[in-house]
């Protein structure tokens, strides 16, 4: 559980990439993350939700300074990582680990499991060989892989779930404070995914870890998160306690995401998702003026194109960036021209 003490404080983070024209791709600046601020308390799990191109992975990498953001601050235990260089940055980075979606892509196929897990200990020159070996055994045990059976195996001979456990063991080796999971369970089969999710929860409480849990699946995120942040096209559009965000979503985009989850109960009534959102996200090069969601939003008015809505507090600890948040008792304006599922013109 959260202790209230801040571990991470991200302020006005901006990350942009230049792209040159190639084939049908226009040149310009991709505004991958635009002025994102949030905090993360020690022992807390913040879920970060968004679709392809929302900037959630870019944000995670910018926190780790890989690469450093274009502007903004990343305060980790009070120190701004953006200002750190060389050895100081390395020392701070030890505290932060990341686990990726594709375990096989992130594990060297030629290395044994033991060597993979030991590698960060070698890189940071933490201890003598015997001590490193002891640590490898310890973390393999922690993630539920019997060291006797798995230490000498190669990634190829592992299942997806086992390989992801190895990636988690590697992340744990340096005893970090923060672990960022970037769609870390998204490609696993349902039953294996439940096993790994339960493992993540156990590790968090046993080792007092702090998590940033990135995924596109809102139901999955709820399972592990204290608070949830929703990103759309580089912007943070809503952030709040998990319970209140799911019970009373404020941003129309969050409402659409929730409506898109297939309900495993056939008796549940289900409003068509095309009533809550239309089309697909526009390009992050040259995003829409004002609110970036307005081109797909059933509630959009003229003001949404003219003025960018700022993130504002609408309930206890619950913020949204919307001129017409869903909690307002006023009914949603009707979608012009009935239901669309055609994209707005690019």
């Amino acid at each position: 559980m959260s202790t209230g003490e801040q571990l991470l404080d991200v302020r006005h983070l901006v990350q942009e990439f230049e792209v040159r024209a190639q084939g049908g791709v226009r040149s310009g600046v991709v505004q991958a993350v635009s002025d994102v601020s949030f905090t993360l308390a020690k022992g807390e799990t913040l879920g970060l939700v968004g679709e392809t191109g929302s900037g959630k992975s870019t944000l995670a990498r910018a926190i780790l300074q890989a690469p450093a953001p274009k502007s903004g601050e990343v305060l980790f235990e009070g120190t701004d990582l953006v200002k750190l260089k060389g050895r100081d940055l390395l020392r701070a980075r030890r505290q932060m680990q990341m686990v990726f979606q594709d375990p096989f892509g992130s594990l060297d196929p030629k290395w044994s499991v033991a060597r993979i897990v030991e590698e960060p200990l070698v890189a940071f020159r933490t201890a003598a060989r015997a001590e490193r070996r002891r640590r490898v055994t310890e973390v393999l045990d922690r993630v539920g892989l019997d060291p006797e059976r798995y230490a000498d195996r190669r990634p190829r001979s592992l299942s997806g779930g086992q390989a992801q456990r190895v990636a988690i063991a590697r992340a744990l080796a340096l005893d970090p404070a923060l672990i960022i999971y970037d769609e870390a369970v998204s490609s696993l089969d349902v039953l294996i995914r439940a096993q790994v999710l339960n493992l993540l929860e156990r590790l968090r409480s046993e080792l007092s870890l702090t998590y940033l849990f990135i995924a596109h699946d809102l139901a999955l995120v709820k399972q592990v998160s204290d608070r949830v942040a929703v990103m759309y096209l580089g912007k943070l559009v809503e952030i709040g306690p998990a319970e209140s965000l799911y019970r009373e979503p404020l941003h129309p985009y969050t409402v659409a995401l929730l409506a898109s989850i297939p309900n495993p109960d056939p008796a549940a009534s289900r409003a068509p998702v095309t009533k809550t959102i239309r089309g697909e996200p526009p390009s992050p090069i040259d995003p829409p003026s004002g609110c970036r969601f307005r081109t797909r939003c059933p509630r959009a008015q003229d003001v949404c194109a003219a003025e960018e809505p700022l993130l504002r507090k609408l309930a206890d600890g619950h913020f949204a960036a919307c001129h017409f948040p869903v909690s307002d008792d006023a009914p949603a304006p009707a979608l012009a021209g009935g239901t669309h599922d055609a994209a707005a013109p690019d």
Partner: protein
Amino acid sequence: MSESLLEVSDLRVDFRHDGRLVRAVDGLTYSMRPGQTVAVIGESGSGKTVSARAIMGLLPPSAKVTGSIRFDEVEMVGLSEKALRSHRGCGVAMVFQDPTRSLNPTMRIGAQIREAIQTHEKASRGSAQDRALELLELVRLPAARERLEQYPHQLSGGMRQRVMIAIALAASPRLLIADEATTALDVTTQAQIMELLRDLQQRLGMGLIMISHDLGLAASFADDVVVMYAGRAVERAPTQMLFAHVRMPYTRALLDAIPRLENESHAPLAAVPGQPPNLALREPGCPFTPRCPSATDRCREHAPVFEEHEPEHLWACWHPCEDRVRL
């Protein structure tokens, strides 16, 4: 019930791998009526995709297919490649997971759809182009006329999947197989494509087989659900009945492992231990035994028969689950 579009019975598909026999599909049986939606649900290696490819006649020559697949009263197993060709497209069409790899990156969208049309019927370039536009409008691709002249990379993933569906519909198939057709898409796009498929299926009266790992999708869109494990059908029933009266412990485990919005944060998920069996080992008994909370010695020694235990509800289990009391 009399008229059936597809009847799969005792379908077996064997592959040879490292000199060993791997039975990817082991005695699959189900049938569907015209206009029905059947979801075939399973995890990786359950045989769901291999069984769909068998229906399409798309398996490699190394695959040994036995049993029977009757489509519109015609036996498909053992049919020549030439006969299969006319069956594919007009009879059955398929949409795959990855629209990027299914489309030709060097051909304009219009040309790819025209090709699909002209494979199946004699049509002039002009009339094929008109039909291509109709198809793109049918799958509600925005700015359809301009898209005809574009290349796949100029479209988003969701739009490309709409194009794939248009191509699949080119020869007015009576059965459409969607193999994880929305898995690679974003959540809001996935929901839009599923709603489109359901709408098309109802409008055109096609049969639809949804191959998926997601029981949630099945609950929302299917009439009947077939759950597969280790190459076998383990439970099958009309959707409402299946979800209200789960009998097979594997289906129960799948449902309990899905994170749900109603769950409290940090509530542990009911997770069964272990992994799916190695299909090359071919052990007797029920393949779910090592992971099953209800397993006994009987399960290890004798495989339960997949049969109808309650009206329209089939399962293969010696110790079926009892109905849960709903709180």
